[in-house]
Amino acid sequence: MKVQRPRLSLWERLYFPAILKGMWLTLQHIPRIKKRVTLQYPEERWDLPSRYRGAPVLLTGLDGQEKCTSCKLCQFICPPEAIRIVADETSLEKEKYPKEFYIDMGLCIFCGYCQEVCPVEAIWLKEEYELAGFDRTDLIFDKVKLLEMGRKPPYLPGKEKPLEEPR
């Protein structure tokens, strides 16, 4: 196929009118202070959408115990195999609980399959997105840390995000 290029007039082929027009456009952007889109990150934070998928955490029930029954469905469905569970018996009604529960946040792809597959709503993708560490082993979160993250108050859409204060 042959593309017909438009024939430019002499005025258009001079280029200078077009260049000056472009320069006028960029100049107009300089005084537009109100329209700047930069977010001053540690001080200002992004208003998260209501179903934001951040880090997967473990939730606790009303009795204060973790809901997880150690069925390992999340471990099986996890595409990057970021979840590792060590199951054990318990005298509680659910009879089985995770003795150890690890999620490697360096592997996690935040797909949310674990949350979807969980039969007891024990694992949930919360709004936490600041997961950096100085070492790769820092990114392997254990059960204590995951439960602690799960106990944080939930995020309410439309309100300022109740995360910890910036340093």
Partner: protein, 358 residues
Amino acid sequence: MIPWAILIEAFVKIAVILGIVLTGVAYTTLAERKVSAWMQDRLGPNRVGPFGLLQPVADGLKFFFKEDITPREAYRPVYLLAPLLCLFPALITFAVIPFGTSITIRGATFPLVIAPGVDVGLIYLLALSSLGVYGILLAGWSSGNKYSMMGSLRSAGQVISYELGMGLSILTVVMWAGSFDLNAIVNAQTGSWKHPWFLIPHCLGFVVFVVCLFAETNRLPFDLPEGESEIVGGYHTEYSGLRFAMFFMGEYANMITASALMVLLFLGGWNLPFVRYEWFGPLWGGLLSMAVFFTKVFALCFVFIWVRWTLPRFRYDQLMNLGWKRLFPLAVLNLVLISTFLLLWEMYLRAWLLGGKP
């Protein structure tokens, strides 16, 4: 005793000029980042110091502590020399650039130029500013990297396509002023009705000259040797740390030199229309002329930045076309027009308009 006085005078001037130019370089880099940010509705660097004003210091420190890498395939002597060759000519061109009228303190008059009375100032300036391109050529060639090689080849091609047009466009200015001395060129354009800035009679040459200067300073639309989207980083791909900083500073120092050249040749130097510095006395007049000169220079630096963030990069063959088929004929046309006019002026018009013998 006299040589000491001259030496001290020269050293003081060198210190002042290097101070202004190097601070200018540092803050032009900041201005580049700030202006580009504003044009893109961003904020730009604002963390180091108030409004990010200490950002150049932070950048310099960062460059200082970075590792200096020489690739195994590089040709070491040239590889180490090239950054110096890029920065050095840009700085020593200021030896002949006059940056004001003159200052008189206690009866002693100091002309505001490091080397006063160089009557081939313009030729010296052109020679040195062309030398800066060799830094780029050698850097790309000696890096032992094919992308760098491509960058320096582009630079070589670029040089031959714009230098001719640039030289010809300056020639008319020299003919009009009748001198290669930069001081004389500035004094020939005082901004009065009879001696307007050369921008007005030489508008065609000015356009050609500006386009060529953009090519010479390797600024966008003509930053082909860099071309980071096509040839990674071009000639400075392999450089890091202070050596990269030297290229960086060289680019901005070249920008300031180019702006100074443009101001001297076409925008009346330190002259303002219908303002005479004798009105302000020998000291304040001189200082004011210096301030006006550097204001013009840094305003043109803003134009360089402005153009960079507006226009896309030219393709290689487009630059060749522009240089050889547009700028060169335009410069020749300009030369013919101006020289014909000057000839007629000398032979008939002057006598007819102003009286006197032809």
